[in-house]
Structure formats: structure tokens, C-alpha cells
């Protein structure tokens, strides 16, 4: 209470200083929520790819560019020693002309379902049932796509201009299946075929098309070793095991996370500088008060504690308001993105607590020099100060 009054004796200045910290913490919370969401996606992805090898046509870059390959690779893969089953898969963008998007873009996924029984990444169904090998014109909708497609069991959705009947809706998995629609393999082959340039079309058989293969190793076979063997045996293809996947994503997310936190920390440091400035001014203005306190027997430690308390208070109030604003912002942004299935922010409790603590610590650190300066004042000189 007394701390509050001491800080707010210069109202505008206190407000501006606190506002500086608020902006910094706001940035930290918003940016951090972005990074937390990505971390979650990556962890989900890591689980998704935990025990299998995915094979695709090798191409520059990476990401989700699609290059078709022939299903003739499947029997060749299954002929390998460590392979139990190889399943052909198709993965194409949900919107043919999708712009840059955050994280995983919306996808159309399909599989020949040969590996279904071996799949360790179990998805559960909020409603309905999985696809069956003889389904045609049916679809299973990921949880983030439900709203976007206005999907209900039994309703008809449009995928690339074709009608599909919804037979299943997935629970949230926090990774790839969330923003994808799974359709029967044959339908996906036809969509993929239609996407191709006419020149290429004439040379291909639509029923032999796929974009990748998922390889399930035999029990006891190391998927990372198997991926290496596939890469050696089939040049032109790229096989990615769990470890490689992890490396790829953590590398790209680490850079992103570093930048994101860097930006937030810089704005917080600026806030910290303004706390130093404010506290220095405050000590300067209150020189006489320090003299009075010393004449009443205040120890140096006590003077330091008082001013540190004030700067910690500035940090704490700035931190809490920054957190509140950041929370509102992420809430609003997620709500706005909900309809399109892009919840970009994840405000975790560790991020929330961490940001406020950081702001308080920053306040304390910024207050160190001014407080120490106040404690060192000669009491008589301080009392004579006008």
C-alpha cells in the first residue's frame, strides 16, 4: 500500500513506466504463445512419426510440396528385410491455391489402409467411424476442419468441387489429422491426377499414383536404420525416420522460437531501462526522504529493500497487466481463427507464470543500482538537500 503510493506519487511517470513493462510482457506472452503452440505441434508430430518411416519423392526444400510417385515402389519396399508393411499414401493441399499458412496447412489425406492395424498413432472418433477400404465418396473430418466445412455426420461436404459424405469426425489430436480431411485412396488419386499438368497426365495411370509411402518396420527393427537403408537402396526417394523428422522440425522451430523470444525480450529490456530511469529519478527526488529515514535509524538494507520493493512492484504490475492483455489478445485471435481451424496461440501456465516472474525479476534488477545509490547517501547531506 505504501509502496503503491510511493510509486504513484508521480502518476504519469509511474503509468508510463509500468506501460513499458506491460508492452514487453504483452509481446513476450503473445510471441511465447506462438512458440508454445509450435512446440506442441512439433511434439505431436514427433509422436505421429514415432515408429515408422515415411517415404516420398525427394525434392528440394521440404515442407508439404507434393510430387507424385508410382505405387510400384510399394512391393519393392515390402521386399526389404525389415519391412512389415508399406502403405501408399496421398497428401495434397486442401485448397489447391493455398497461400502461406501457419504450421501445417489444411490437407487432404488418403491411404490404401494396408497399415491401419499397425498404426501406433491412434486417433479416436468424436462421432462416426473410420474409412473402410471399399468406401467411395466418404470422408472423415479432422476436428479443426469441422467448423470450416460445416460438417456433420451424414452431411455432404465439398472437397475440390466433389461431394463427399461425412462418415466420421475425429477428436482433437493437436497435430496433423486436426486440419485434414481423409478420403478414400481412389478418390484422392483422382484429385491428385487432376492437379497434374496435361503433359504429365498423358504419361501416367491415375490408379498407380501416390505421393508417399508409410513403412511399418517389423517388430524389433530400428526405424531410423530402416530409413537409412531405404535411402541407400532407392536414390531419388527420401525416407525419413523418427530421428530425422525430429531433427528437421526442431531445427526449424528452434530458429523461429529464438527469433520470437528475442523480439519479446528486447522490448522487455527497453521496459527495464525505463524502470532504471524512473527509479533513479525517484531516488534523486526523494533524497531528502532518504535522509529522514536514515535519521530515524533505517539501515542501508532497509532502504535498499524499500526501493527494490518499489521497482519490483512496477515490474509486477506491468507483468500482470501485460499478461492480462496478452491473454485477451490470444483469446480473441484464437476465436477469430477458430472458424478457419487455425488456433495459432497457446498460452501455457508456465509461460504465464514465467512472464510475470520475469517482469518482477527485471524490475528488481533495474532497481538494484538506484536502490544501492539511495542507501549510500550520506544522511546529513541528504537532509540538507533541497
Amino acid at each position: 500500500m505504501r509502496t503503491f503510493r510511493n510509486v504513484f506519487r508521480r502518476k504519469l511517470r509511474a503509468f508510463l513506466t509500468i506501460f513499458g513493462i506491460t508492452i514487453g510482457v504483452f509481446a513476450l506472452v503473445v510471441m511465447g504463445s506462438l512458440a508454445e503452440k509450435i512446440t506442441l505441434l512439433v511434439n505431436g508430430g514427433t509422436r505421429f512419426y514415432s515408429d515408422k518411416v515415411t517415404v516420398s519423392q525427394s525434392h528440394e526444400g521440404g515442407g508439404f510440396s507434393v510430387s507424385p510417385m508410382s505405387v510400384s515402389l510399394i512391393p519393392k519396399l515390402e521386399a526389404m528385410d525389415g519391412v512389415q508393411v508399406a502403405s501408399a499414401t496421398i497428401s495434397v493441399l486442401f485448397d489447391k491455391q493455398q497461400g502461406a499458412s501457419f504450421g501445417v496447412p489444411d490437407l487432404i489425406n488418403a491411404s490404401d489402409l494396408r497399415g491401419q492395424s499397425l498404426e501406433s498413432f491412434k486417433v479416436s472418433y468424436a462421432q462416426g467411424r473410420p474409412l473402410k477400404p471399399d468406401d467411395a465418396g466418404k470422408a472423415v473430418v479432422g476436428s479443426d476442419m469441422v467448423r470450416k466445412l460445416n460438417a456433420q455426420i451424414g452431411s455432404t461436404i465439398k472437397v475440390r468441387g466433389r461431394d463427399f459424405q461425412v462418415v466420421g469426425i475425429l477428436d482433437k489430436t493437436l497435430t496433423i489429422p486436426d486440419n485434414s480431411v481423409e478420403i478414400p485412396f481412389k478418390d484422392a488419386q483422382s484429385i491428385l491426377y487432376n492437379d497434374l499438368p496435361d503433359l504429365v497426365k498423358s504419361r501416367l495411370d491415375s490408379t498407380r499414383l501416390a505421393t508417399g509411402a508409410t513403412v511399418y518396420p517389423k517388430p524389433g527393427v530400428d526405424p531410423n536404420r530402416l530409413a537409412q537403408q531405404i535411402n541407400d537402396r532407392f536414390p531419388g526417394y527420401q525416407a525419413v525416420g523418427p530421428q530425422k523428422f525430429q531433427e528437421q522440425v526442431t531445427n526449424s522451430t528452434r530458429i523461429f522460437t529464438t527469433i520470437v523470444f528475442g523480439v519479446a525480450l528486447i522490448s522487455l529490456l527497453v521496459g527495464g531501462l525505463s524502470v532504471i530511469n524512473t527509479m533513479t529519478m525517484s531516488v534523486y527526488e526523494r533524497t531528502r526522504e532518504v535522509g529522514i529515514r536514515k535519521s530515524l535509524g533505517a539501515s542501508n538494507a532497509r532502504i535498499i529493500r524499500q526501493f527494490l520493493g518499489e521497482s519490483a512492484f512496477i515490474g509486477g504490475v506491468g507483468g500482470v497487466t501485460g499478461l492480462a492483455l496478452g491473454w485477451l489478445f490470444t483469446l480473441a485471435a484464437n476465436r477469430a481463427g477458430e472458424s478457419s481451424g487455425t488456433e495459432v496461440f497457446l498460452l501455457t501456465s508456465r509461460l504465464a507464470i514465467g512472464s510475470v516472474l520475469f517482469a518482477i525479476v527485471l524490475g528488481v534488477i533495474s532497481g538494484l543500482y538506484p536502490s544501492w545509490h539511495a542507501a549510500r547517501l550520506n544522511p546529513v547531506k541528504a537532509l540538507r538537500y533541497e
Binding site: E289, L296, G297, A298
Partner: protein, 243 residues
């Protein structure tokens, strides 16, 4: 130190135990390389327990300086300070803090209250610095303020009080830890004659009822006349008892 200095200091004590004794104090301020100000040049003073002493003297004669040194706010360059039979000019800062809060009370010309604190908080602060819990300090402070006629002004800030009321708050603050000595540096200097009279009467009453020793610096002959004894400072030395 010469024995006649000791003798002089001794002779100043009137009766009873010596509460406060300054022996041959020297203090020099440096205002740049060549410019030395000798604020004290061998000042000695002895104050008996329960005595109310006035220090007079021209501006710049070292009155404030000797008060600060006797109140353990500043160190002398040379000389001794004895507080109730204990030498205090060579103590560690922790012990000096304790002395400032418990053994000595200060009253200043400009009142020196903390502007953001209420009357109650200003007085309680002294109790807190002396080691009381905040709650206890508040209780004691409320009592002290009531005793000095400000029971209805506890939640007022200094800016909401008259000069006389502010000085009464300062007196309550100086007394809250029941110190042996109260040092007042021109406590009535900023007050009009009537209020000055009232404040002086109040201090005199406290002095007589509690036996607290008072040392008051003053330019006001009326204030000095109300004291038991007065001394005069000139050029950094305590000259003599003024009759």
C-alpha cells in the same frame, strides 16, 4: 586532548548523571581542493540527564553540525561522543542505526515528514525502524499522536496539516521510541510566535513529565529563556553558558 577542555566540559554539567557528552569535536568540510571549512574546531558540551539545553549562536557557527554528530548522523574527524556513559563515535553502522532509532530523537526546522505518508504512518515508521511490528508500531504511534492532541488527524497527510500540527507529528515521531535524548535543530524556526510558544510549551512539558533530555538549537531568545540552560557557539566551539 588538553585537561582544561575536559574540565570545561565537566563544569558545564549542572547536576545528576551526564546524558550526553561531546569532547573536543573537530569537523572539517572540504569544498574543493584548497577550500576547507572548519565547521567544528574543538567543540565540547555536556548535557545532564533530564536537562533542557538551548544552543544559540550565529549562522554558520556549527550548531547543526554538532547536533548531527551528537545524534550519530555524522562522524567527527576527531573527538568523542558519549551517550549515557557509552562512547558512540567509533561504532559500527549497524549499532549506529540502532542508536539513531532508539536512543535519539530528531526534530527539524522543516518538520521533515514524509509527504506520501499519513501522520500515523510517519510516526509508526520510527517504531518500525526500531524493530516493532507494523501493527504494534501503528498502535504506539496512534497513542503518541493522541497524547499530543492529534488523535483526530491520524489519516491526514503533512500537506493537510498546519505547520504547528506537522511539528507536533514530528515530536510524536521523535518520542515514539522513548529515546533518552531529543535533538531539535531550530524546531520552532518555521513557526509563528504563537505556535512557537505552543510547541515550546509542549516540549517543556514532555521534558518535565518524562525526564527526556532536550537539546534545542534556536535563534529565538524566548525559546532559549524557557530552557534550563543555554550555551553559545561561535566559530565551531561552544563558548560559554549564557546567563
Amino acid at each position: 586532548m588538553s585537561s582544561d577542555v575536559r574540565g570545561e566540559a565537566q563544569s558545564q554539567a549542572r547536576s545528576g548523571d551526564t546524558r550526553l557528552r561531546a569532547l573536543d569535536l573537530h569537523k572539517t568540510y572540504e569544498l574543493g581542493k584548497e577550500n576547507l571549512v572548519h565547521a567544528l574546531r574543538g567543540a565540547s558540551l555536556e548535557v545532564a540527564a533530564g536537562e533542557m539545553l538551548a544552543i544559540m549562536g550565529p549562522s554558520g557557527s556549527g550548531k547543526s553540525t554538532i547536533m548531527h554528530i551528537m545524534g550519530c548522523l555524522d562522524n567527527p574527524d576527531r573527538g568523542e561522543i558519549w551517550l549515557g556513559g557509552r562512547r558512540v563515535d567509533n561504532l559500527k553502522s549497524r549499532e549506529l542505526n540502532r542508536l539513531r532509532s532508539k536512543e535519539v530523537g530528531f526534530i527539524f526546522q522543516g518538520f521533515n515528514l514524509i509527504p506520501t505518508y499519513t501522520a500515523l504512518e510517519n510516526v509508526a515508521l520510527a517504531g518500525e525502524y526500531a524493530g516493532m511490528s507494523r501493527r504494534r508500531a501503528k498502535a504506539v504511534a496512534a497513542e503518541a499522536l493522541a497524547g499530543i492532541g492529534l488523535g483526530k488527524r491520524l489519516r491526514h497527510h503533512p500537506s493537510e496539516l498546519s505547520g504547528g500540527q506537522q511539528q507536533r507529528v514530528a515530536i510524536a515521531r521523535a518520542l515514539v521510541n522513548e529515546p533518552g535524548v531529543v535533538l531539535g535543530d531550530e524546531p520552532t524556526g518555521d513557526l509563528d510566535t504563537a505556535t512557537s510558544h505552543e510547541i515550546m510549551g509542549m516540549m517543556r512539558e514532555i521534558n518535565q513529565s518524562t525526564g527526556t533530555t532536550f537539546v534545542l538549537v534556536t535563534h529565538n531568545p524566548e525559546v532559549a529563556a524557557a530552557c534550563d540552560r543555554k550555551v553559545c557557539m561561535l566559530d565551531g566551539v561552544v563558548k560559554r553558558d549564557v546567563p
